[in-house]
Symmetry: C2
């Protein structure tokens, strides 16, 4: 099949997905592969650097080999499913690499989860347990399967699923069953057998037991406090008047395929099943800034120590996938103004392409004042309003929603914003009881404490590939040091160090500790210092789980806020590529240690091709205000030029005028 | 003069200003008072609490006495000006209190500063120094007077002014003279004598000397890099297309005088010469949240230790005034959408009212997604967009601009946003030199390191006046403690303490340290915990100046991020009421210590009428990108309900629809 040359960063087209599936089917004639992933394998960076150089010199570059990364499960000889990974050279239509991955698991499989749910429903012991609960007569039981978070009690090579039970009181498909968690939990084996039934702890002292008791009907609280769907709610407030964005000359951005140009920015939009939105070759005024920017992982460990709750710990990217779970965004709801949507493509289990419509939206927004000065002598004011370009994607991971957005600024700043919303994961609690690791959000409903830890992967290319990480702090100057002239004690100065080895580092706002990604070979002619971008971190508590716990061993990136590594092709995920039921030892810390102990590995990171990983998030001890759907909680990470340009890069933004903006007096 | 009853929080009307001035003039028959301040003296809180209680019960309350606080300078017997403060009972037209304040200074007086500038220009020694500089022949010298920041070298009771010299290269009133700082500085005495002339240090080693040398003409760099005014710039970028806000049914807010109602919020807008915008009696759904919210102080200490730069340290509220320096906001420039403006009133030196037009704008803004959930079983999404109400004021303090905005959310959150913009304060430096406490932003132009430290004063009334400050942290549970059940090491829990004594406290994100203002007497019926609001702090480095320095002694609030004090009428300013040339010992730390040592003072803060002060800001080590006008630097402080309501207070916001929002596809 002839493929008209896509850009090497473009996601696979439907035709390429079909081609890859065909090649894989031919390569596995004895099997009926269950296609889990057919995605772009990005070319090696050394090839892409040459390619991009040529492109930006307006020369015709050589195209790197177009490669698909395919994951399938096949029946192994023992009869259990086995994960196989194949790389398909799409230019030649051949398999370039094939690897069997025994004991590894792909991301969560919706149809398998449906089968797990059905297995629970069909199990007579569960049926009997439900009978014992003596639920209200109109109640419908809802079963929510979760991937098993390793606690060391189960075999890792076999898939285990934990099923949590709830009920719906209202006969409506969108009734909020999380408001009525049941004292029941089932463990289901890979071959769909219910292997254990748990009764959940209902108080601080209560340990898991197998003796169930009937449902406490005092927990049947008013649905008014727990429903969010408009058809189950009283009429909404009517005080909010319409608010519309008009762009009479259309948007200021331009999209040619996946290439977006806006103001002085250019970048390419990528999308894959796991990371969702990715950005490539980000440039400002035709100067290179970042090779690739992506959310690399996300871990949601729960802090309830009572069994079986230590099995709640979700890698929302590695286990679930930000691409697969991306919402179909809707005009006027998820996005306001003049909107460009990007579709994604995934595959069915039989290897057919599936469109994921409107998974990314692109639009502009006014962001208040960009810069202003009033000359106090003349009273003349010059004010430029800030326009930002937003690329947004929203994912649903079972109960929870994340809104991810990249904000591009006219001043060459870039902000990555996460909003957490959706419904809290809940479990039952006795009426009147409380515990030290959760909030009672409704009668009988505990919302356990948990953390959201994100890893933002920043692959910089600040005026070129060779970059360094500089750590700068601001310190009070001594007053009594004769070598320092600080007679009035007002002096302070900056001290900085360049990181030389791969490592994890911590934030310290008390020292104004600033992380700068610099290019030591490019000196700003005015300031005399290397050009750079600084990270405006999101100050967050790191992982609270004990270092010995599986949670900690599996999410190594959660122990430090800033990591610097030397670039490695395919090192994209700071908790490892296979997070499902992982045992730990595969994350960023282990990768660094492994290289340190390997004399053949280059581990210096000064003036090298480096990657910066920022861990941030929230320790989410729920408020009742987060119930039943929580108001967005914003977390923001920024990247700003520091002595990169020759002055304010937004100085040429036109001053704002009422003529253009047509505002109105009340 | 009959005064129709204003609300006790309403600023003085022009008629009240006239009345107060008349009363004062009559009381000071021997003098021609120079009226510096005629402002509202807010009633004692115990009276206001009763008043507000009655108002919210829809009863007719008794009006507290309407009082004006008047500051005048008069000629003292020694002939030098003396500050006198008078309280005028406007109901009775009498002076209720009068105090002479020898050695105290009022805020910066524009006409006096003009006189200082003229005194410099008239001084032959300065003329001779300027001649020695041999400036380019078209250059115009500009003199910028600054209040003297105490360094211990001058008498405090006499006013001292420091004058910094620049030149304008272009013959245009809005040319950016900060781009051409001159090696010259003058000290001017209260009686307008030039008492000293300094030559400024031009390198790290260079100490202040009196031997000037001629201006280095290599510093005459292209104005293209240093001008910001559109008439002095190349044509701006034309890529930014118009973007307009349409509210076809008008805004969702309502203003009756200074009472603003929006969604479920109500509050009263205040304004005074010093704090600028203040907010009073802030309520949500008719429940009391905050008695008063204000920016209480702001200190900008410079970190350059070389004399005379330790004299650069500005109390932008205490010395300059956020009200007096508030910009006249313009439709379509400072504010977008449907705008309501509030005017302020000040007074002339002769006691006449002066309108400060459009000093506050009030408008709505879309703020992305408020909450969303997609039911993964039905794929039904419910999404409510967030509307916020913004009250904004912008001030110019000589070279610099601050944009202050309060954002009210539909989810009962409140955010205080500061944006710093404007022009950096500069000084000269030798071409090719660098120093450890500044950035060279243009040839020969040093932008010294400095800090911006803000104090946000939060006077809470969370469901009533008696509140407590609770400090909560999240901690890993032990794994080997037999009394704790944490077999898998995943558990974490919160520990909290209630602050009992007035004190300053620090932030610690590594422990998720959270400051909650709670009402211990009001227990949330569902969570079983006190109702409260939490502070989302702005993590910032505290004051860097040495504790022994005058900078530190004068800005006590800069040493801790959170202060809790027991409410005192008239304790509004954490660096003291008179900051001009202050000596220290009058700030929040001193007030706390004084009360602690005074057995008659009540210092407990648990379940009391308390005030919380949040110190935040930035250590601003300039980037060249901040030149010549810096892109807005945002700093945000949040206040959010925590177990205050019975659930998400924004649950009744109507889901967003394209029908209302009329967005468009590209």
């Amino acid at each position: 099949m002839a493929i008209t040359s896509p850009h090497p960063f473009d996601p696979l087209s439907p035709r390429e997905i079909i081609q890859a599936a065909n090649v894989v089917r031919e390569a596995l004639p004895q099997n009926v592969p269950n296609f889990r992933v057919i995605t772009l394998q990005e070319p090696p960076k050394h090839e892409m650097i040459k390619f991009l150089e040529q492109i930006h010199l307006h020369k015709q570059p050589q195209l790197p080999t177009r490669t698909a990364r395919v994951q399938v499960t096949v029946q192994s000889e023992s009869g259990s499913p086995e994960l196989v990974e194949l790389f398909v050279n799409l230019d030649q239509g051949i398999i370039s690499k094939k690897e069997h991955l025994p004991g590894r698991h792909s991301y969560i499989d919706t149809s398998y989860m449906q089968a797990v749910e059905n297995a629970c429903r069909a199990d007579p012991r569960i049926e009997s347990e439900i009978q014992k609960l003596r639920l209200p007569k109109d109640a419908t039981v809802v079963i929510e399967p979760w991937a098993y978070a390793t606690d060391g009690m189960k075999d890792m090579t076999e898939r285990t699923t934990m099923c949590w039970f709830y009920m719906r009181l209202l006969d409506h498909p969108d009734a909020n069953y999380y408001a009525y968690p049941l004292d029941l939990c089932a463990e289901v084996s890979e071959d769909l057998q219910v292997t254990q039934i748990y009764h959940l702890p209902l108080s601080e002292d209560d340990r898991t037991s197998t003796a169930g008791c009937s449902y406490d009907h005092n927990k049947v609280h008013s649905t008014n406090l727990s429903e969010y769907h408009p058809s189950l709610r009283p009429p909404p407030r009517t005080t909010t008047k319409p608010y519309q964005i008009i762009q009479p000359q259309g948007p200021s951005f331009k999209c040619e395929g996946n290439l977006v140009s806006w103001e002085k920015w250019t970048f390419r939009v990528g999308f894959n099943y796991r990371e969702g939105l990715t950005l490539h070759d980000i440039r400002y005024d035709n100067r290179s800034l970042f090779y690739r920017l992506s959310l690399a992982e996300m871990f949601v460990p729960y802090g309830d120590p009572r069994s079986p709750f230590p099995r709640k710990g979700a890698f929302d990217l590695g286990n679930d996938g930000a691409g697969i779970n991306a919402n179909n965004l809707r005009l006027g709801c998820d996005c306001l103004g003049v909107i460009k949507y990007f579709d994604g493509w995934h595959n069915t289990s039989t290897g057919e392409p599936v469109k994921l419509p409107n998974v990314i939206c692109c639009h502009e927004q006014d962001d208040g004042i960009l810069w202003k000065h009033t000359n106090f002598r003349t009273q003349n004011a010059v004010v430029a309003r800030s326009r930002i370009l937003i690329l947004q994607t929203i994912i649903t991971v079972t109960n929870y929603e994340y809104i991810f957005a990249v904000h591009f600024g006219q001043d060459a700043s870039l902000h990555y914003e996460v909003r957490a919303t959706g419904i809290l994961s809940t479990c039952p609690i006795n009426i009147g009881d409380s515990v030290g690791y959760g909030t009672v959000v409704a009668p009988g409903v505990l919302a356990p404490y948990h953390q959201h830890l994100f890893s933002l992967r920043i692959d910089p290319a600040i005026d070129g590939v060779s970059n360094s990480l500089q750590v700068e702090e601001s310190h009070t100057m001594p007053v009594d040091d004769p070598s320092t002239h600080n007679p009035f004690g007002v002096g302070y100065t900056t001290k900085s160090e360049i990181v030389t080895e791969e490592t994890g580092l911590d934030l310290d706002f008390t020292k104004n500790r600033t992380f700068k990604i610099i290019n030591e070979k490019k000196i700003n002619p005015t300031t005399g210092t290397p050009v750079g971008f600084k990270i405006l971190p999101c100050y967050s508590q790191m992982l609270l789980a004990h270092p010995q716990s599986y949670h900690a061993r599996r999410s190594e990136f959660g122990s430090h806020a800033i990591w610097v590594t030397r670039y490695q092709d395919d090192e994209l995920f700071p908790a490892g590529r296979y997070t499902m039921q992982s045992l730990g030892g595969e994350g960023i810390q282990s990768a660094i240690e492994k290289r340190k102990n390997d004399s053949a590995s280059e581990t210096t990171v000064r003036d090298q091709d480096i990657v910066i990983w920022h861990t941030f998030g929230s320790t989410h001890n729920p408020r009742i205000e987060d119930w039943p759907v929580m108001p967005s909680e914003k977390m923001i990470v920024g990247l700003k030029p520091v002595n990169f340009f020759e002055g304010n890069p937004a100085l040429d933004v036109a001053p704002s005028t009422q003529e253009n903006n047509k505002s109105m007096l009340v």
